[in-house]
Every structure is written in C-alpha cells, then in structure tokens.
Subunit: 218 residues, 8 copies
C-alpha cells in the first residue's frame, strides 16, 4: 500500500468523480463523497485498512473540463494541501465536440487540453507525496467510433504527461475494455459515459490496484 | 395526400411514440399528443392541411414491447376504430437484451416479435383504410455494433410483414442514417434511442413523405 | 437556402419566442431552445440540412415589449455576434393596452414602437449577414376586432421598417389567416395569442419559406 | 327578497361555477364555495342579509356539459334537497365544438342540449321552491363570431325552457354586454370564458338582482 | 360617486388589505389585487362603473403596523402618486400586545400609533384628491373584551384624526357589529381577525357606501 | 400514582388530542404520539416514572365529534384493550354550531352528545382499570360569550356522566381559567381552540395531577 | 467461485438489505438494487466476473422481522426460483425490544425467531443450489451492552441453524468487530445499525469471501 | 423561583437547543421556540407561572461547537441583553472526533473547549442576573465507552468553570443516567444524542429544578 497513515487523498474531476458529492466540502457525514468511484475507494480503504485512517476528499464537479479545473485549482486543490492527488478529466472536453458540435466555444481541443493538464501537473507535483492520472474513457467497444477515437487520443495525452512527470498512470479505458468484452456497453452506462455501480467499481478497482491495495491483507 | 377529410389517424408504440402524451385519452387540448413525432405530424397536418380535419390520436406507452401491445390491442386500437393506424415497436424488445442481459424474461426475441406483430397486423388490416409500419431504429452508425445489428434484424422483420400484407413501410433507420452521415449520434439522442426535437422531426418527415404530404401544396 | 455553413442564427422576441427556453444561454442540450417555433426551425434545419451545421440561439423573453428588447439589446444581440437575426416583437406592446387598460405606463404605443424598432434595426443591420422581421399577430379572424386592428397597425409598421432597410419581411398574421379560414381561433390558441404546436408550426414554416428552406432538397 | 329564512340555495354548473370549490361537499369552512360568483353571492347574502341564514352550496364541476350534469343529477341535486336551484351550463357543450373540432363525441349539439336541460328542469321543478336558469355566455363582443353565435343559440334555448316552465331566467350574456361596451373582452377574461373577479361580480349581480336582493335594505 | 374617470385609487394596510396581492406591483393581471376587500372593491367598480376606468392598486403588507407603513410611505404611497388613498392600519399594533405580550418591542402603543398616523395623513393629504381612513376592527362582540376595548381605542384615534383633517372616515367595527348581531364571530373569521369572503364583503360595502357607489346606477 | 407497571393508557378525542399523531397506529417511534398534551403526558411519565413502563397510545382524530367516536369505538378503543382510557370530546360538537351555523346536520346538540357519551362510557367502563373524562374547553374568558356558554354546558354534561359512573373527572376549562386570569386568550391559542405548547402543558398537567403524578417523586 | 454462469442470486432481509431498492421487482435498471451491500456485491461480481452473468435480485424490505419474512416467503423467495439465496434477518426482531420496549407485540423473541428461521431454511434448502445465512449485527463494541448481547444471542441461533442444515454461515458481527477495533462505531453507523458505504463494504466483502470471490482472478 | 417578573431568559447551544426554532429571531408565534427542551421550559413556565411573564428566547444552532458560539456571541447573546442566560454546548465538539475522526480541523479538543467557554462565561457573567451552565451529555450507559468518557471529561470542564464563576451548574448526564437505569438508550434517542420528547423533558426538568420551579406552587 503506497498510502501512509493519516494521508489525505483528494480526487478531482467531472461528473464521474462528482456523483452528487456534498458541496463545497467534498467530505463529511451522510454520503458526502457521493455515489461513485470515490465513495467506493473510500469504502474499500476503510473496510480493509481502517488502521490507516486515510482521509478521502471529493472535489469533482459535474460538467467540468480541464479548463474549469484550471479555474478552481488554487481553491480546490492547492489550498486543500492533499498528500495524494488523483485527476480524471477530459470526458466533457471531448463530448461537447460531439453532442453540441455547433457551439465551438464549449469545446476544449487536444492542444489546450494537453497544455492545461501539463501546467496543473507541473505546478502540483512538487507539493504532494503522490499523484495519479486517470484517463478519460468512453464505454463504446468500437475503436473506429468517432468519439471513442477522440477519447483515446486524450487518453494518450494523459499517458504522455504521466510519463513525463513520472506519476502513476491509470488506463481506465483499458480497465473497461476487459468488461466490455463480456457485456454490451448499455449494461454499464445508459449514455456510454455515466457508469452504473458496476462501472464505478471497475474504476475504483483500477485505482486501488495501482496504489498497492490488497483485498486480503497478508 | 393519402388521408381523406375527417380521417382518424392513430399511432401506437413505445416511449418514442408516447413522449408524455395525455393518458389514457391520447388526444385533446394542451399538448395531449406529447412532445414527439406524433405531435409534429399533427402540427404539420394542421398547419398545411387544415381543411382535411385529420384527427390524430397517440396511444404510445413508454417501455412497451410488442408483447405489451398485444395485451392492450383490443382497447387501445380496435375499440378506437381508427381509419389509419401507424405502428412503431421493437426498440425495447431489443434493448432489454442489451441493458439487462441477465433478466431473460424481459427480452422479446425475434421469433416472438415476428409472430406477434404479424398477428396484430393480420387482424387489424381489414378494419382500417390504411396501415403504416415503421421500423424500430438505433442511433448508432456502426452497423457491426451488436445492438444496431439486432435492431436491423427486427427492422427486416417489419419490412417482411409490410410486404406480406402490402401496407406502407417506413425505414426509420434509413431516414436517420442520412443525418448520421453528418452528425454524430450523440447530437441526435443522449442515449442513442430517445431523439431530440431534430430526431423526432426526422421521424415525422419520414412518415409524412410516405403518406403523400407536401410542404407546399400545389 | 440563404444560410451558409456554420451560420449562427439568433431569434429574439417575447413569450412566443421564449417558450421555456434555457436561460440565460438560449442554446445547448436538453430542449434548451424551448418548445416553440424556434425549436421547430432548428429541428427542421438539422433534419433536412444537417450538413449546414446552423447554430440556432433563442433569446426570447416572456412578457417583453420592444422597450424591453431595447434594454437588453447590447447583451443579448450585439454581444452574441449572430450571422443572422430574427425579430418578432409587439404582441405585448399591444396586448397591455387591452388587458390592463388602466395601467398606462405598461402600454407601448405605436410611435414608441416604431421609433425603437427602427433604432434597433438600424444599428444592427450593418453587423449581420441577414436580418428577418416577423410581424406580431393576433389569432382573431375578425379584422374589426379592436385588438386585431391594433395588431395589424403594428404589423404595418414592421413592414414599413423592413422595406426601409431592405430586410426579409414575414407577415405572420397572413400565414395564420390561411389556417383561420378553416379552423376557429380557439383551436390554434387558448387565449388567441399563445399558439398550439400547430400554430408554432405555421410560424416556423413561414420563417423557413422566407429563407429558402426546401422540405425536399433537390 | 325571494329567499326565505333558512333556505338552501344550490348552484350547479361547469368551471365558472366550480372555481376551486371544495369537493365533494361544496360547502363548509375555508373557502369551500370556491372563488367565483357563487362565493360572491354567498358573501353578499351574508353581509347584507345575515338574518336570513341562507345556506349556499356549490356543486359546479370544471369541464362539465349538460350531459355530465345529467349523469350526476340524482346525487348532486335531488339528493341534496335544495330549496332553490340555479343552473348555468352550456359553455363546454359549445366550446369543444370550437377548440377540439375533430373529436366529435366530445361535442354536445343543440338538440341534445335542449332535450337534456328540459328533462332536468322538468323533473326538478316540482321539488324546489324556486329555480333559476342562467344562460351560458362568451366574452366576445362580435355577434358574428362563430362561437359567440353558437353560444347565443344555446342561450336562446335556455330562455325558451325558462319560459316553458315559468322559472327565473337570467341572461348573463346581456349582463356582460353592458360592460363589454366599455372594456375589451381581454380585460374580463384571459380566454374569453373564465372571468376575472370583476367578471364574476357581473354574474353575481345579475343573479342577485333577479331574486330581489337590495344592496341597501330598507 | 366621488371618484372621477381615470382616478388611481391606492389602498395601504396590513394582512387584511394584502390578502396575497402580487408583490411588489400590487396591480396587474391574474388576481394581482389579492383575495380581500380591495379585490372586491375593484370588482364592483369595474362591474358597475366600467366607464370610469378606475385604477385600483393594493399596497397592503401582512403583519404591518403603522410603524412599518411609516418606513415604506415614500416608496409605496407618495411615489405612486395616487388620486385617492385609503388607509386601514392598527390591528397588528394592538394584536401583538395580546398574542406576544412579553415581547414589548413588537408592540405599537396608542401614542406612537396616533402620532405616526397623524404625520402620514398630514403630509399626504395635500397630494391627493381624496383620503379615506378606515378603523382597525376586531370580530368580537363583547366590548369588555380586552383586545376589543384596545381596538376600539385605536379606532377612536382614527376617528379623531379623520375629523382633524376632514377626510372620509369609515367605522369598520360598526359595519361588522351589525352582522355580529346575527352571526357568531367564528362564522366571519377563524381567529377574529382575518375575515371570510363575507367579512371582506362587509368591508368593501362599507368603503363603497362612503364614496358614493350605487349598486343600481340611476 | 394510580397507574401500575406496564399499564396501557389510551387517549381518544379530536384535533386537540390528535396533533399530527401517526395514523393509524397512534404509537411507536419518531413522534408517533403527535405534538400535543398526549405526547407531553408520555414524556413526563417516561422522564419521571421510567420504571413504570407506561404504554401511551393516541387515537385522537382531527375534526371528530362524539358521533365520530361512536363510529370507531370498537376498532379504536375496545379492540385496543387499554388498561386506562381518557376521553376528551365535544369541541367540534359545539364549534360547528358557531362557525357553520347554517349546516345543521354537522351540529351535535347537547342531547345527542350526552346520550352518546353515556353509552360509550357505560359499555367501556367494565373493561378498563380506570377511565378519565376531560371536559371540552374554549379559550375565552367571557362566560357570557355564546360559544363559551355552550361549551360550559357540554362540560357540565361530562361532569354529570363522570359522577354517574364514578370515574375521574378533569375540568380543563377550570385549568385554563387560572392561566387566562394572567394571559389574554390569544397568547394561548390563535383561534381560542388549538392551544400553543403552553396550552397543551396546562392540559397535560391537569391530567397528571388527577392520576397522582408527582413532579418530584418521594 | 461457488456460483455458476447464469445463476440467480437472491438476497432477502430488512432495511440493511433493502436500502431503497426498487419495489416490487428488486432488480432492473437505474439503481434497482438499492445502495447497500447487495448493490456492492452485484457491482463486484459484474466488474470482476462479467463472464459469469450472475443475476442479482434484492428482496429486502425495511423494518422486517423474521415474522414478516415468513409472511412473504412464498411470493418473494419460492416463486422467484433463485439458484442461490442469502438471508440476513433479526436486527428489528431485537431492536424493537430496545427502542419501543412497551409495545410487546412488536417484539420477536428468540424462540419465535429460531423456530421461524429454521422453518424457512428447512423448506427452502431443497429448492436451491446454495444457501447463505448472515447473522444480524450491532455496531457496538461493548459486548456487555444489552442490545449487543441480545444480538449476539440471535447470531448464535443463526450459526446453530447453519450448522444443522450445513449451509454457508457468515458472522457479520465478527467482520465488523475487526473494523471496530480501529474505528468508533459512530464512524460506521449513525445509529449503530444502518452502516455507511464503508460498513456496507464490510458486509459485501464478508459475503464474497465466503462464496469464493477473488479480487484478482487468476 | 429565581426568575423575576418580566425576565428575559435566553438559551444558546447546538441542535439539542435549536430543534427547528425560528431563525433568526428565536422567539415569537407558531412554535418559534422549536420542539425541544427550550419550548418545554417555556410551556411549563407559562402554564405554572403565567404571572411572571418570563420571555424565553432560543438561540441554539444545529451543529454548533463552542468555537461557533464564540463567533456569534456578540450578536446572539450580548446584543440580546438577556437577564438570564443558559449555555449547553460541547456535544459536537466531542462527536466530530468520533464520527469524522480523519477530519481533524472539525474537532474541538478539550483545551480549546475549556478556554473558549471560560472566556464567554467570563465576559458575560457581569451583564446578566443569572447564568446557567448545562453539561453536554451522551445517552450511553457504559462509562467505558470512548465517546461517553470524552463527554464526561467535557462535562467536568463545565463543572469546573461553573464553580470558578459561581454560576448554576446542571449535570444533564446525571439527570439522564437515572432514566438510563430503567430504559435502554435507544428508547431515549435514536442516535444516542438527539433525545425524544421524553429525553427533552428530562433536560427541561433538570433545568427547572435548578432555578426553583415548583410543579405545584404553594
């Protein structure tokens, strides 16, 4: 397990991260962490490693692109002084190009995406013990699909930046692809984007497997 | 225009037809026809052919499969004594196989679909002036996609039955495909099934073009 | 078709234009264009001319008079930089004279109406590719009716200004009159002002016919 | 004053009578009489003739035609054993012919209207001290208007029946016409049917003037 | 009739005047005048004197004492430039002394009441054509009742000021007393303060009789 | 203390007893006993005599008269097999005579009240350990007030029946009168009927003092 | 993994199992399995073993005791024909003895609990492939606590029956105790009964570990 | 009785004090004092000592710690100029250490608690006639329980400060312990913190017994 006792682990992202989390705190009682993978990560950490006393904070906000993250980075990340930070962003950056194709100023193209994400990682890495970059994903098996192809491109950018800065990289698309071999995408997400509980578990498992979590501690 | 003055035109189907129509009447004041293609067909008929006094009735019900139509056919179709009848069914018959794959009894497979639809058409055709069969559709451009392929199979069944009984056949998938060449599916439907206003207009236009409607009457 | 690929087409007006559009954006996902003629125009453009990628924006606001348009013109029209602009205003300017006759300061009389509309057209025409002026209307067949007569007077002002500036003129009252020959006004509008879906289709068709739209592209 | 101490006065009719009255009682505390002319009649009787202790009951039901009154006559009129009965019906009988012209079975034509109303009056008159027939009305000044002309025809039927049975006749259209000479119809009713408070006062005054009410008792 | 064509008649007061009027305007469509005596006065004026075109405005606010009126006098009375003004205030000034006896700063005692009301009348009278002072009231027949006695004292103050300034005085308590001889107070007001429709009609009639209104114009 | 360990104490009555109790049980978790004197009695018994384990049940129903109690006596009293029973009824029997004086069939006059209450007490007394009769009350100090006088008459009937059957009698009016010497009735009840928390405490204290409760157990 | 491809796994129990599941189906789209351990079990099975196509059904109902299970056993268990059945019941059987101690008929004591549970297991075991008995639990570390001691007694009954019938036994209290060594009970459950997401994960993990689930399949 | 005629008695604290009181006033009509011990104290004072005219004000705020009280002390205590002040604070100061153990900045440890409470008492005592310090409490019988032990420690701090300043001290834990000998904690509070009506009565009684209240005045 890479996390140490008392570490503060902060997640930031879009609606996949948000999932009705409490605002603005992003932590506390009564389901404050929302209903998605962040809550599952927290539940698994508490259930299996209660002695580590990991403090999980959720700062996801529905609809966000990397441009929005940039706008609230000081307040929602740096001021929070996390020990560990996990970023999953890019779905809306891509999606708006496909569901409102005529409103160009709502699109965040690959160059802006890459530059902004690099800047955020660059300025934050020195302040944390660990940093995790999760790719955006699209629950579509067909790699030739236009939006899937675009999402893969953004995922490749995340991989490139993770390698540049030597931080933990999680290929969420790859994690989903294993399941999509067995199940049609509609079983995992009504709109190919917002996962069911099972889909969020795929994300939580991918995250945990990359930070040394073990289901049966030995 | 194939319809005559005073004809009663009844639509039956699933949520694409339903679209928040008034229940149980399916006609009347204040948006009783719902917000989908049925309302658009009615609006275009009234706007362009007000002298024809066509009476449109909407008996779509969300979530219905052909099995459900069979169960309410006497009350919602035969008892209504329509002059013209339009049927669009099959989306849920297919969809349940893909979004709840483990609950087999919610699936309506192709043989049952074909037998039931044939029975309904067979017993109804003698009672109406005209009958229209619209295929189900799936807003996915990739013909190799599993659910799209299944939907195409059901569409082919509709075509076969239409030919058997010599009734009007409307290939809604083909109508959408023209638009999908220009626009990604997410622009026309959040979940690839429930169309936007533009998507419903595609359906309405396909219907009207098959019954002799002319935008500019001459 | 007068519109070109990628054009931004902005509608401004009162409740007939508004129709529950999303505020303040007036565009986007999930019915952001409202439920009236603007949404129908957009749906028909997307369904028939998807390749043109026309971006439609709705800036109608319920209850507005031309005096209100003047107050928000910079923000809601000029700052939006539309390629095409369509204005339909005047119903409330007239209506308040008839439904709250004792509250004089809520009335916008013909001279103020004419002067304000001319000013708005004058300062905006140089900034757009095309400008459309739609008359206000009243769904009353009797031309001797007091409010119908007043509305006709305001419609004549719109025609005069359209001619002065050589912009597209749409006589919505004339479009409705064709239908009113067949249907009593109550069939098209509960209160003779807010049209049913069919009434909005009359408006959309009148608009489209004036910008070169063809139902069957050749 | 024609009413005697302790008389029970029952009103029956459509939405003009109903006006959100308490159901099913139609009397009691907290605005049980609704917000229309029935409540005004009761208020004026209590304010000016508190010693008469008149018991007012409201059995109006929105949307009713004379066909609906016939269906609930035993329960809502005869079983109530009123001393005085007032009937105002016919607006919906006519209106449906104009706002849903294609749904014929919702129309109540003049012959059925006359026969049904005569039957109800005939069987009820022997059971009450007094019976009042109020005409339906339409807040449209133009007598050539189609719906106004139809309403006048139904009003004439009411007059004929009142004369046949020698009961009190109230020409509500005439009462409104006096006001319509000064005010445009939209001032009195948004939709030409459902009156404002002022319009309901016109009805209440017409009723009271016909039963001997005096504003200043002498 | 003391009012002239086109006069603006403004009412100010507490919850008896307010009665769910539209805020902040206090006039307009759709029941903007509330459900109390102000609306009844307006309805009777429109029904009987439509040619006078009286504009009625309601500026009552629930819970107000004369201290509150003083605070909003400039905005809600003087800036409105009424031709006629009617004031009914004092019920809460007295009531708070009886229902929250321990919270002294919520009470408005007689001396403050008199001084404030005199100031308001003094500065306003020169600006209007006519001014009406209505007493507060309490629907309790027993003159020895503590709160009734206090209310009578405040009513006497109103009378004194009316005489000083020679404006129209309306003794609402006296108007109610006539009815209370026949009906127990609970019939007219659940809490002895907020009247039923009949109670509001008593107020409206008292007001109208003092400005020359005639039910049957001659 | 007259109650014994484990006794079941059931209260029945009207809205004063009901006070939003849980229906139909009238006992259980989360405020099931309502917000009135029954809940206060239970709270004081649990707080001071927790060892007695008294089970309190609330079967009050808003709007009830003794006629209504008669209708549900078998189900709500006898079938519950209480050890102790407390009855407080009569307020609505009287009140309806004063707030809806014209609807005679809603009134329960003194003879019916007395006969019904006697019957209920007679058939129930043999089945319980103890029975308590609480008078109805009216928070009006003036004994000459019509409704207070009537309520006193009904209270006298309760006293008479209590003496006949030798059961515990509680004069709630007397208990309130002590407080009304200091506080105006409006302080204790908005409408002279439904008490504030303080008023309910007066009732609870009167009840407890009659069953041997001691605030400081010795 | 003990489950086979296509197995139907049904959970029955009280609010811990229910957790807002869809009623009456207990399966389907959009969170139909609720928000508790059943949903987590399903999510983990789908995420890790998508090829097994396990169908999970949730028939928990809030507030149930074993007496309630008995009443709906035929409909909610036997008629469902599950391949595997998991039962967790007993918390309310015990809790009612402690939170409503005076309402004896709501308590299910140990003898009734044991007899009923044995009967249900006995008649169901022959119809299923596998049966799991989970103990009730109480999130209180102090074994001398009265309610904890009682819950332990009911847990021992579950163990005894599991051994008698040789079915899978899960000691949920033991699973929680490991975590309670690190965390105070209030961290896992507001009321010591309804777990947080972390608490539900403890339950899901205990269940899965007993049916051969492996986080990392090999 | 230590309070004198007309005294203003202000309570401040957390959710136990708040109990849905009206904000921001904390006094007035219609249950403004909330549903907890403050309302019960007021009800008992009014019912038994109506002549004393004690004015009770509730300034409790849910979720508050002593740190929060410090932040609003000027506005909610000193500016109110109470004659008597009662403080009960500390439950959340302790609870957050046990239900969100990882969020350290939400905890108020004993040293800060003591220093802040001492400061508030010190600066307020000179301004009031009487000051009451109530301990926080925890409805858990087991003194070895971690949170109970912590709460006892904070209670001891309250006692120490009360002795230092010679103000009235109320040991609420001791008052509850008497009842907890008979009833399991779940009977008095769902979550061991928020009492039932009976639990609030224990608090009210403890308060009143310490200010000389007598149930039966002699």
């Amino acid at each position: 397990m890479l996390l140490s006792k008392g570490d503060k682990l902060l997640f930031i992202g879009d609606s996949i991260t948000d999932c009705e989390r409490k605002k603005p705190e992003g932590e506390g009682l009564f389901g404050a962490l929302g209903k998605g993978y962040v809550s599952l990560v927290d539940a698994l950490l508490q259930a299996v490693y209660p002695d580590l006393a990991i403090r999980v904070v959720n700062k996801g906000t529905s609809g966000n692109t990397v441009r929005d993250l940039d706008g609230r980075w000081q307040q929602d990340v740096l001021d929070q002084k996390p020990d560990w930070l996990s970023i999953m962003i890019g779905i809306n950056d891509v999606w708006r190009q496909f569901d409102v194709p005529f409103i160009k100023e709502w699109h965040v193209y690959a160059d802006e995406y890459e530059a902004t994400l690099r800047k955020l990682v660059s300025e934050t890495k020195p302040t944390v013990k660990g940093l995790v970059l999760m790719t955006p994903f699209y629950l579509e098996s067909n790699e030739q699909d236009g939006m899937r192809a675009a999402m893969d491109q953004y995922g490749a950018i995340v991989r490139k930046i993770a390698e540049e800065f030597d931080v933990i990289f999680i290929d969420t698309q790859a994690a989903f692809n294993v399941v999509l071999e067995e199940l049609y995408s509609a079983t995992l997400a009504w709109d190919r984007v917002h996962p069911t509980a099972a889909g969020h578990m795929v994300l939580a498992r991918a995250f945990l497997d990359n930070i040394g979590f073990e289901w049966k501690r030995s």
